[in-house]
């Protein structure tokens, strides 16, 4: 009944390579588009590989009105989000990882449920509230809603990270004279640092990619995705392709670094065995 070993292997690798091609090809294609000379994207018949690769499209994109500014806004919002999220979420993650307390399970479930609500449900009323609070069209305002969106993930990821740092080490430090905080700062924190860096990058990517809330909460101080989205109907195709390519670059870069930590989010299982 069972296939010969070699045939089974061949089928396995064929399936795996088909999926790999399916995942990779669109990324390659947007890369090609971003370096195709501007007017060639309108040509027909259009060659699949452009006549020559050129920086014209990317340069047009980066020199377009508002792009560099929104790019800097995006970086700033993402950094603020990262700082807020870790400062607020990491202590909660530590608490869930280290202590047994009443309401622990309720807290874990509750924090996940917050992520299940539509972004529109937060962004639209926040736009109204921000007008009163003086936060409308500010980068801090955008960073705060991004923090609300990233916080559940940050708590879950940091819980997993602190669970991976043996409790015994902290206890040992305390028997040797460290205070509770000292044991945390000198023992647990350094060991958790690589994981926390991954959580930080993940938070950065969430903020960098977010478009709905950023578009609704800003007018002049747009982030890059908000700028691209709100000008999309009026911008030429090559601008959109360059924008798409530019947006995925840092995301792919960070995903490469945090690949091993992706699994912290789901059920605490890690990719490492």
């Amino acid at each position: 009944m069972s296939f010969p070993y070699l045939l089974r292997r061949t089928l396995l690798y064929m399936a795996v390579f088909s999926f790999a091609i399916w995942v990779l090809i669109p990324i390659v294609l947007i890369g090609i588009s971003a370096f195709t000379p501007k007017n060639e994207v309108y040509a027909w018949p259009r060659p699949i590989i452009p006549s020559h690769f050129s920086l014209e499209t990317m340069s047009f994109f980066l020199h377009s009105y508002g792009v560099v500014r929104s790019l800097l806004n995006s970086v700033w919002v993402a950094l603020l989000t990262l700082a807020f999220t870790l400062a607020i979420g990491a202590p909660a993650g530590y608490a869930v990882a280290r202590f047994r307390f009443r309401g622990r399970e309720g807290f874990r479930l509750g924090i996940l449920i917050t992520r299940m609500f539509p972004t529109a449900l937060l962004a639209v009323p926040l736009a109204v509230m921000y007008l009163k609070w003086g936060l409308y069209d500010t980068l801090i305002g955008v960073a705060l809603i991004h923090t609300a969106m990233a916080l559940p993930f940050a708590v879950i990821i940091t819980t997993g990270i602190f669970m991976g740092v043996p409790k015994d080490l902290e206890e040992a430090a305390m028997t040797l004279g460290c205070s509770r905080f000292g044991a945390f700062a000198r023992v647990a924190l350094p060991l958790a640092l690589p994981g926390l860096a991954a959580a930080a990058m993940f938070t950065f990517v969430i903020s960098w990619n977010e478009v709905f809330a950023a578009s609704i909460l800003t007018v002049n101080n747009r982030t890059l995705p908000a700028h691209i989205l709100t000008t999309i109907q009026a911008s030429p195709l090559y601008f959109r392709f360059a924008g798409g390519f530019f947006m995925i670059l840092p995301a792919l870069f960070f995903m490469f670094f945090i690949r091993r930590y992706l699994f912290h989010m789901w059920g605490g299982a890690t990719a490492e065995r």
Partner: protein, 292 residues
């Protein structure tokens, strides 16, 4: 272990609550308050009277029924295909062949790509002089480009959105399923093999039932996010295909009516809650994996 220390660490009753306080306070201000405010905006006029006026106007809008239809159609089409694809990817990677780790990370790559960027990526494929038409031309299939994205070909436009969403968001389902597969005890698998279950039989009778909690949370998470599909549609199809989240955006952004935008948001929330409830009820098991 020092009993006093145990006590100090284990029953330190107030410290964990202090550590949770910032998160709880933040959620209070930036989640619960807007949630209540959205409901108020949707049901109360500026003069302070309770009203269903905004829902009436929402439903009466010419795009409303189409938005409702396409939002559901997208979720119903995309989610099952995604679960099947992701399951295939997860099972393949889980066989642990040489290089499987590399492919696992490769398959997870779209996880870092935003819905807007995914829409633009697939625009380069489906646009009038895009890659798909070029390939078809060079293969000699067509002479003139096919309009994949246009009011005349809503069916094709819809398919383009399905392909883009499928490409972008299958990775998250795969990650959940791989995490689930790794939690399945090796003992069950060995027992299954001893009892003669191999290949498809092992997958169908042993792995899938054990994977049910992961499948369920993947289904719930993906359905809820599929209902919010927005930027992919906007980037790829403009306003050819209306969706609920897009209407909320337009009502706020173009028409500056936060009441009707909130009505859309509340409707989306109601649908999400109803779908989650439906899944939990009909799949008859609890949210084990979500609880972790």
């Amino acid at each position: 272990m020092n009993a006093g220390l145990r006590k100090l660490l284990g029953t330190d009753t107030l410290l964990p609550y202090w550590l949770l306080l910032p998160t709880l306070a933040f959620i209070g201000v930036f989640f619960l308050t807007p949630l209540v405010k959205a409901i108020i905006l949707a049901f109360r006029s500026d003069s302070g009277t309770l009203t269903l006026e905004y829902f009436r106007r929402m439903v009466a809008d010419t795009r409303f029924l189409d938005a409702l239809k396409y939002t559901f159609l997208l979720a119903i089409t995309i989610v099952p295909i995604q679960v099947v694809t992701a399951l295939a990817m997860a099972l393949l990677v889980n066989t642990g062949f040489k290089g499987s780790r590399f492919f696992l990370y490769l398959f997870a790559l779209p996880l870092g790509i935003s819905d807007l960027a995914a829409g633009l990526i697939w625009l380069s494929v489906f646009t009038q002089h895009g890659f798909l038409n070029s390939v078809l031309y060079h293969l000699g299939v067509i002479q003139r480009p096919i309009y994949f994205i246009s009011y005349q070909n809503i069916g094709l436009t819809f398919l383009a959105v399905v392909v883009a969403e499928h490409w972008r968001a299958t990775a998250i389902v795969m990650v959940i399923l791989v995490a689930g597969l790794q939690m399945i005890s090796k003992d069950y698998l060995e027992a299954a093999e001893v009892l003669g279950a191999r290949g498809w039989k092992k997958i169908w009778y042993v792995i899938l039932p054990l994977l049910k909690p992961s499948l369920q949370s993947a289904l719930i998470i993906r359905t809820i996010f599929a209902l919010q599909t927005f930027a992919v549609v906007l980037a790829l199809a403009g306003d050819i295909i209306p969706v609920l989240a897009g209407e909320a955006y337009f009502w706020h952004f173009l028409y500056h009516n936060s009441h009707i935008a909130s009505a859309y948001a509340v409707l989306l929330m109601a649908i999400s809650i109803a779908m989650t409830w439906g899944y939990l009820r009909f799949l008859r098991s609890r949210m084990e994996v979500i609880r972790g």
